[in-house]
């Protein structure tokens, strides 16, 4: 018997063994697909087209075919979908079946896999029609039990109906926490409501256009419906409230949103309930890039801490001021974490100070005795900045996000000496891009009341609209996130941000920021144009 025949026999024996395969434990298919772990606990092994051997998580299907199973595209390489709807029938495209998700680059096959031929292909690298799998698809070391677990898992992908997707509409929710600043909250809601109203009109028009032949071209023509999920009470109860909201009237994704100090319960809900959470207005996000569903514009004040630390690399002593109930606490901790070998002293202000005089007294006490060798770092809001008395003799650094950016109400004696972290593009450089949100606000008769919130909220809607055009019919929450990972970097105009970009394992779209001073006339004076710490 010649060699190739022996090889085929090996595969045939292996597949014949599938009939007698032992049952894999529950979750074995998911562990194999997502983590590269075989049912017996050993790492999955893949042999790549160029002789590369990958094991365990590096060999997991999810790396290329993604969590949705709908595949991906990188350069000229199309990674096809491998949900059961594609694999186990021939010529599967949504041209014949509008219910079938249809990611770009997918080409129909002339044959349908069976679980047995799929396993054979995965092991041999050769398809039932005799063609080799295309690079970079590897072949795998899989036994029948693992193969069965994998095909069972693939059969489960994309089967459950997407939450919030109805026959004529798609539901999104936005979240406002009880401590959200009222003006900013209303600014966001006004933008979202106007955007959704316009989208609904456009969707209706597109559906009307499609009616003469009785076929709606894509479900992307569905009307968007906005729900506002207002949270109440202590943050410890928010996750329960969100679960109730989702159970009553499910949302496909959370869009934008407005928080005060705490966003962690929302982040936890999104990850647990598998709901994409797209670009909320939060200055203290949750840094957990191993999580999948929450996406943010930037790391907010945590990024500022790193920017300021990088800017003050030679400083040997920091004195940080923040209120104990505000997000400055987390930022101060972040700076300390990046200041090994440096003295970091925190002067914590009490939570409540209602009058200007009380604030001034507290701040004067906190600033007392700071020497010229120390850098003073202000994690303070505008109400506190207004109450500042005499500046300390040394270097002064501050959070731009907490201070109010260009509008920071800093007393004149502090202005020339204070450097702000500014995790946005500089005004002169973003001016052209800002014409887009400003023109949109004007076209919708919305006055500018909180421009960064309004711009970021509009941008979240605009990003979503652009991505949904590319999602086509594939309303799968995971696929929405995956398309964002792939396509966000291709946008031409991102409002306050010089560029946005994501990837698998990246959950913060803007990575750097500037360092600036504020002139007397309010002009933003760059000290460092752009820094990625």
């Amino acid at each position: 018997m010649r060699g190739p025949h022996l090889g085929v026999l090996c595969i045939a024996l292996l597949c014949a063994a599938a009939a007698q395969s032992s049952a894999a434990p529950p979750g074995a298919g998911a562990a194999l697909y997502l983590e590269g772990r075989l049912p017996d606990g050993r790492p999955l092994q893949a042999i790549g087209p160029n002789g590369v051997v990958a094991r365990g998580a590096d060999a997991a299907c999810v790396n290329c075919h993604r969590r949705s199973g709908l595949g991906s595209r990188e350069g000229d390489i199309t990674v096809p979908p491998l949900t059961a709807a594609y694999l186990f029938r021939d010529g599967a495209t949504n041209a014949a079946d509008a219910a079938l998700a249809h990611p770009p680059g997918t080409t129909p096959r002339s044959f349908a896999y069976t679980p047995e031929t799929l396993l054979q292909t995965l092991v041999s690298g050769v398809r039932p029609d005799g063609r080799s799998l295309r690079a970079p698809m590897p072949h795998y070391v899989l036994d029948a039990t693992a193969g069965r677990a994998l095909t069972d898992y693939l059969a489960s992908l994309g089967v459950a109906p997407a939450p919030g997707v109805g026959a004529d509409e798609i539901v999104f929710a936005t979240i406002v926490t009880p401590d959200a600043e009222p003006v900013a909250r209303e600014a966001m809601l006004t933008v979202l409501r106007a955007y959704f109203a316009t989208q609904a009109e456009a969707a209706a028009a597109r559906r009307d256009e499609a009616r003469p032949n009785g076929v709606a071209p894509y479900r992307a023509t569905r009307r968007w419906r906005l729900q506002v999920w207002a949270l109440s009470g202590p943050a410890t109860d928010w996750q329960r409230q969100l679960g109730d909201y989702q159970a009553q009237d499910p949302a496909f994704a959370l869009l934008s949103g407005m928080a005060g100090r705490d966003w962690a319960p929302v982040h936890a809900f999104c990850e647990q309930a598998r709901v994409p959470c797209l670009f909320p207005n939060v200055d203290l996000p949750v840094v957990a890039e191993q999580d999948f569903y929450p996406l943010y514009y930037s790391r907010g004040v945590l990024l500022e801490a790193e920017l300021l630390r990088a800017r003050a690399a030679g400083v040997r002593r920091f004195v940080q001021l923040y209120r104990r109930d505000d997000i400055g606490l987390a930022a101060a901790n972040a700076l300390r974490a990046h200041a090994a070998g440096v003295v970091v002293e925190d002067r914590v202000l009490p939570a409540a100070a209602t009058t200007l005089q009380a604030r001034a007294t507290q701040l004067a006490h906190a600033l007392d005795g700071i020497g010229a060798e120390a850098a003073t770092l202000l994690w303070l809001r505008g109400d506190d900045l207004r109450a500042l008395g005499n500046p300390p003799p040394g270097r002064i650094l501050a959070s731009g996000l907490m201070a109010g950016l260009d509008d920071a109400p800093l007393p004149a004696r502090w202005r020339a000496r204070t450097e702000f972290a500014y995790p946005l593009d500089l005004p002169a450089r973003r001016a052209l891009r800002m014409r887009f949100p400003l023109a949109w606000l004007k076209a919708h008769d919305i006055p500018v009341t909180a421009l960064r919130v309004q711009s970021d909220s509009w941008l979240a809607c605009d990003i979503l609209a652009g991505i949904l055009e590319h999602v086509g019919d594939a309303y799968v929450p995971e696929y929405l996130v995956e398309r964002l990972e792939t396509m966000l970097g291709r946008r031409l105009s991102d409002g306050y941000y010089p560029r946005l970009g994501l990837a698998p394992g990246q959950r913060f779209a803007s990575k750097g920021g500037a360092l600036v001073r504020l002139a007397e006339d309010g002009t933003v004076v760059p000290v460092v144009d752009w820094l990625v710490p």
Partner: protein, 215 residues
């Protein structure tokens, strides 16, 4: 930008490495020693893929930009590439899950296959996602692929990264658009050998030996 391209396209030798032992042992088949081809049921798969590597020789005018090595040291692109060693370049980003792990694994294997010649070859991986790929992240990434002292990873300002990619005709507008590419240069001032496609470690070794023989 390529300023001169000589059409010297040829097919690379098919990869002949035998790597399917693990699969065959799993399949519980007995393969006779006098039938060596039986040990590689994937030969067709790999031979087809090897043929998809496209070779050309190009003279590039590279930009005068600063790049930052994984240890944080900033230097000119010319200094990053220009010493007495043969230089082999690829493009990666550390959160890439499709092409880059393969490219880096191939570099890792190539590094091992060079043996005693390892010190005469400089492996250079440029990040195409420089704002994410800080020097610290590059160190972590290099460690994962067992990068030795002759394999450096570079990041830098995004403008510099784009300029380097454009210099090698590798810029595709977005990191998600990139393709598998390896470039080799025998010495400073010489043309680059460009390999488009999934080159194996054996492909790189053959290209390196060819360069050395010709220069």
């Amino acid at each position: 930008m390529p300023v001169a391209a000589r059409s010297s396209r040829r097919w690379l030798l098919p990869c002949l490495a035998v790597i399917a032992g693990a699969f065959l042992s799993l399949a519980a088949c007995v393969v006779r020693a006098d039938e060596p081809e039986a040990a590689d049921p994937h030969a067709h798969h790999r031979a087809m893929l090897a043929q998809q590597v496209r070779r050309s020789e190009v003279a590039y005018a590279l930009p005068n930009v600063r790049v930052v090595r994984q240890d944080g040291k900033a230097m000119s692109l010319a200094d990053a590439l220009g010493d007495d060693r043969v230089v082999v370049v690829n493009f990666i980003y550390t959160t890439c899950t499709t092409i880059c792990p393969l490219s880096s694994q191939v570099f890792s294997q190539f590094q091992a296959k060079l043996g005693a010649a390892r010190g005469r070859v400089h492996l250079v991986s440029f990040s195409i996602d420089p704002e994410q790929d800080t020097p610290a992240r590059l160190v972590e990434y290099a460690k994962k692929f067992h990068a030795g002292p002759n394999w450096d990873h570079y990041t830098g300002a995004i403008e510099a990264s784009i300029a380097v990619q454009r210099g090698f005709d590798a810029y595709r507008g977005d990191k998600m658009n990139h393709g598998p590419l390896t470039l080799l240069r025998a010495a400073h001032g010489k043309d680059w050998v460009r390999l488009d496609g999934f080159a194996s470690a054996d492909d790189l070794l053959a290209a390196y030996q060819d360069l050395v023989a010709r220069h």
